[in-house]
């Protein structure tokens, strides 16, 4: 760090003022000067050439002026020919265009307001023959109206789009959204879908379905107004599981309808389970069981034995078959049931030697009664009957309740009158003993 006082040196800027004279000198280029030197002879030749060129140019200009004048004359004549009035233009075949304040009319003939013509004005474009418009395009809405048909061997273009609801694209694909077809579709041939996998429509209607499947959906006809007809060589409805035919519904000419299991029907019955409904009745053929409801618990008819099995109806309320031996049990209301009494159906057998049965029998109270109407059979007489009340017998007790049948709720339901004979027998034997004793005294 310098110890002496620092000098402040403020520069003074030199600027160009009137005190200065500044000159700019280009160096002399001797070589270039030599290149610019030309001889008098060369200059004279150049002047002659220039004069000749000027003369040629003057002649060309004169020719051009003449051509221009001729062109102007021809132009005036052409304008007069093409435009007989300020607002009319005529072409070579005398077809005229009238230009008016409200538009342009192109017409052939004498009038722009009658006869064939095309008008383009503020309302759009319209074509006329001698009468009304044959076609029109609205300038405000773009709506196009044709009195004739749109015809042609080929209609090309992009997509025909009708308000987005019906679209025909360039490849012919028709897409209808929420469309309704009214009237009649007349078809002579063709398919919905492909030949092999679609519906075929011809002059006779919908005549076939391809090898494809109808998946889901419903075929619905108006109630009572029409029907679904199956017509063909097989004329049947077949049901398949995968590729296996498991059953058919088919008409049997004038006999009726046959519903059968398996791939082949057997109208005479026997081979496969099937059901026939004809004009004179109905028959069911089955190799094993014909069931109503659940076959093991409801009513079943055993085709092998010819029996009727009412398994889940107790013996006293219906008819059942045992294992090879038929029996009938009559329960109440004169209904018949078959019970077994043979020793071969019993075990742990003991003879009764007890007493007191006479007193119990003496408590039995016979009654007369009529069956309530809601338990009677229509058309059958409801006469006065005799019997006991199951509740009375059940209340006596002392094994007499064994002659009472209880319902599933444990309440007395019916009475086994055949079993009462056991107790009556015991009472008689007891009474006989007392008689014998009295005789002995």
């Amino acid at each position: 760090m310098p110890l002496c006082p620092q000098i402040t040196n403020t520069p003074i800027t030199v600027t160009l003022t009137a005190d200065f004279t500044v000159t700019n000198v280009l160096p002399v280029l001797a070589a270039n000067t030599q290149q610019l030197a030309v001889t008098d002879a060369a200059a004279a030749a150049a002047v002659a050439t220039a004069n000749a060129a000027a003369a040629t140019a003057g002649a060309a200009q004169s020719t051009a002026n003449t051509a221009l004048a001729n062109a102007a004359t021809a132009y005036t004549a052409a304008i007069g020919s093409l435009q007989p009035s300020a607002n009319t233009i005529v072409n070579a075949t005398n077809q005229m265009t009238a230009i008016a304040a409200n538009g342009i009319t192109v017409f052939s003939g004498a009038s722009s307001s009658s006869g064939p013509r095309v008008v383009l004005n503020s309302t759009g474009l319209a074509g006329f023959d001698s009468g009304g418009a044959t076609f029109s395009i609205s300038a405000s809405t773009g709506a196009a109206v044709f009195s004739g048909s749109v015809t042609g061997s080929t209609i090309t273009g992009g997509t025909l789009n009708i308000a987005g609801n019906a679209i025909i694209d360039a490849s012919g694909l028709l897409t209808a959204t929420g469309a309704t077809i009214t009237g009649t579709i007349n078809a002579t041939a063709g398919y919905f879908g492909t030949v092999s996998n679609g519906f075929s429509i011809n002059s006779t209607g919908l005549v076939g379905v391809g090898s494809g499947l109808i998946v889901g959906g419903t075929i619905t006809t108006s109630s009572g107004a029409s029907s679904v007809s199956l017509v063909g060589s097989n004329n049947s409805l077949s049901f398949k599981t995968s590729s296996t035919v498991v059953g058919h519904i088919l008409p049997l000419s004038t006999f009726g309808v046959l519903t059968h299991y398996g791939a082949t029907a057997d109208p005479t019955g026997g081979t496969f389970p099937q059901m026939f409904v004809g004009s004179t009745g109905a028959s069911i053929f089955a190799s094993t069981t014909i069931g109503i409801g659940v076959s093991t618990s409801g009513i079943s008819l055993n085709a092998a034995t010819g029996g009727i099995n009412l398994n889940n109806q107790t013996n006293y309320t219906g008819v059942a078959t045992g294992a090879g031996t038929a029996m009938v049990v009559v329960t109440t209301g004169s209904r018949v049931a078959i019970v077994t009494s043979s020793e071969r159906f019993k075990e742990q057998i003991q003879y009764i030697n007890t007493t007191g049965w006479l007193d119990k029998v003496m408590q039995m109270k016979p009654i007369t009664y009529k069956t309530r109407e809601d338990f009677t059979t229509e058309g059958e007489p409801n006469e006065t009957q005799i019997g006991f009340l199951a509740e009375d017998i059940y209340d006596i007790g002392g094994d007499l309740e064994k002659a009472v049948v209880l319902d599933p709720l444990g309440e007395p339901f019916s009475l086994s009158y055949d079993r009462l004979t056991v107790f009556l027998t015991l009472a008689i034997k007891e009474l006989k003993a007392e008689i014998d004793q009295l005789k002995g005294e």
Partner: protein, 374 residues
Amino acid sequence: MTAFDGVTSPAVTVQFLMSGSFVTVATTDVISINIRRGRTRQSERDQCGTADIILNNFSGTYNPDATSGTYVVGGVSILRDGLQMRIVATIGGVAYNLYYGFLEITRVDQGEAPSVTMTFVDGIAYIADAQAPALAAAANAETAATRVGRMLDIVGWPSGASRSLTGSVGMLATVQNRSCMAMIYQAVDAIAGRFYISRDNVATLVPLANKFSRPTQLLFTDTGASNTVGYMELFTNPGTYYVVNQAVVDRGNANNQYTSRYNPSVSSYGIAKAVFDAPVATNSNAENLALYESRKLADPLTYVERIDFNALALGDYGALYPDFLATELGDQVSVVRSGVQYNLVVEGMAFVIVQNNWMMSYTTSAINPYSITI
């Protein structure tokens, strides 16, 4: 040299580069050191610096033909042309290079008091020896600093810290074959600047603006005031000797030459013309340069041209030595004589150092205040 104790006055040593390291010459062998750097006045070029070293050679150590001794490596003395040498002054533990040079001439005195006089030149001598090739068009519009760097590359001057080049004026490519030094002087003229080899051996290019930003290192007075330096001699110069009021900037054969004349000066002193070989890139550069060169010396001013002083008399207890030793070409000093202060630029400096004396001489010029953006 033992009189310079390194505490109250600098210890001055001479060092030779030997096997990659500087070795200090025995101070008892150093008879005298004579250094000259810079230029006499601002209108001149910076000259090649020289340092004459006279060594006591009674032992024959400094004989270039010696085959044994301190400075013999591999049977050959290193004291031959090109030997790198520096002169270092140290005070307060801080070393300052006073000079850095290359051995150019050796004179051996085999008389009754055997001695060797060795003359060391600075880098300018090597740059001046080289010839520059014609520059291709690619060198067009490169800055003055780039142009000088290109010349330094040609002579093999080290890059990096060995260069300090500033100058943004664009230069034209020249098709002429010139010496590298001539090409460098063109760049110096283009920026109205200065090129020299610093005391640290750095090739230095400074622009015009540098003159206004350098520090003022010393204040010379005849009053003996604190922190001032007493001078021995002041040489002044009548300013009319160096008036320049018409400048011609020559951009080269195929380009415009601008001539600027400062009319007030011409009307008083007649035309004093100077021509500048400055192939600057644009006409605007040339016009501004001519404007500046025709104005800066147009007003004659009597100024101090040289200051002689004894370096051992620098203030009390050597407080000014750091500033003195750090003084570089282009730095500023100030002189007060009979109450009049002259602000000066150090243009050159000369050292005469013997065992018990250290004489200094600064050549100076007035700080003319004119400046311009070239």
